[in-house]
């Protein structure tokens, strides 16, 4: 890789269309979930170190902001999961015509909202 390698996709140049917003959201949620994987690791490490260390987590989890982050996290997980399924079958060249891409995009949004609602409203 060299310094003259072009950037892709050109976020500031391309017109914002639904498909590009879906794509960049996949990447943003991916970065967010990566941070989340560090947090789950920390949770597991604190748990393994014993009750004294785990009390640090219990202290943080009492905060209202913690619950807010969990809701956003849930949305991120479901979006990345469902949109990721789309990307998986795209890897085989399936469902790549424009109408199907838009339709599956809307399905991803609906599934994300329903799943998040099921987790937070009904359980």
């Amino acid at each position: 890789m060299n310094d003259s390698r072009p950037l892709s996709p050109h976020l500031s140049i391309h017109k914002k269309v639904l498909t590009s917003i879906f794509s960049i959201t996949h990447r943003i949620t991916g970065i967010g979930l990566s941070v989340g994987s560090i947090l789950i690791s920390m949770w597991f490490l604190l748990l393994s170190l014993g009750p004294n260390y785990f009390s640090y987590f219990e202290m943080v989890s009492k905060n209202i902001l913690f619950k807010f982050i969990l809701v956003i996290w849930t949305i991120g997980i479901f979006y990345h999961l469902f949109n990721g399924c789309r990307k998986l079958y795209w890897s085989f060249g399936i469902g790549m015509d424009l109408i199907t891409v838009y339709r599956s995009g809307y399905i991803v949004l609906v599934l994300t909202l329903i799943s998040t609602a099921v987790v937070w409203l009904f359980i």
Binding site: M1, N2, D3, R5, L7, S8, P9, R27, G30, I31, L33, S34, S37, I38, I40, S41, F44, L45, L47, S48, P51, F54, E58, T74, I77, L81, G84, C85, K87, L88, S91, V119, I123
Partner: protein
């Protein structure tokens, strides 16, 4: 241009594995969120739970590492910065994988 094809395949294999594991973890996390310390340790005393959690963590960290690499390759043009961030991401992912492995083994014996 080294083993990009392998990384592309690995990114998708880990993604496929993470679909059922994510549903399992969200399902588990809902019950874990209502538990106290002692109950959570009991949860991990079950080898099935410990095994699934371990597999999920390693697969997730690997998937995350591969994804972040792709993003860095796409957006960071400076060769030096790109290499530095990638090294940081790789080391962090490996460190977490090692820690998770050590503590998982610690729970088994």
């Amino acid at each position: 241009m080294k083993n990009y094809a392998l990384k592309w395949v690995l990114q998708r294999v880990t993604a496929l594995l993470l679909i059922p594991l994510t549903f399992w973890f969200i399902y588990s996390a809902i019950s874990l969120s209502k538990m106290e310390y002692i109950e959570i340790t009991v949860f991990f005393k079950s080898y099935i739970n410990l095994f699934l959690f371990y597999i999920m963590m390693i697969t997730m960290l690997l998937h995350s590492k591969l994804g972040l690499q792709t993003i860095i390759e796409d957006y960071v043009t400076s060769k030096k910065t790109s290499k530095a961030i990638k090294t940081f991401v790789n080391l962090s992912a490996y460190l977490l994988m090692i820690l998770i492995t050590v503590f998982t083994l610690g729970k088994m014996f």
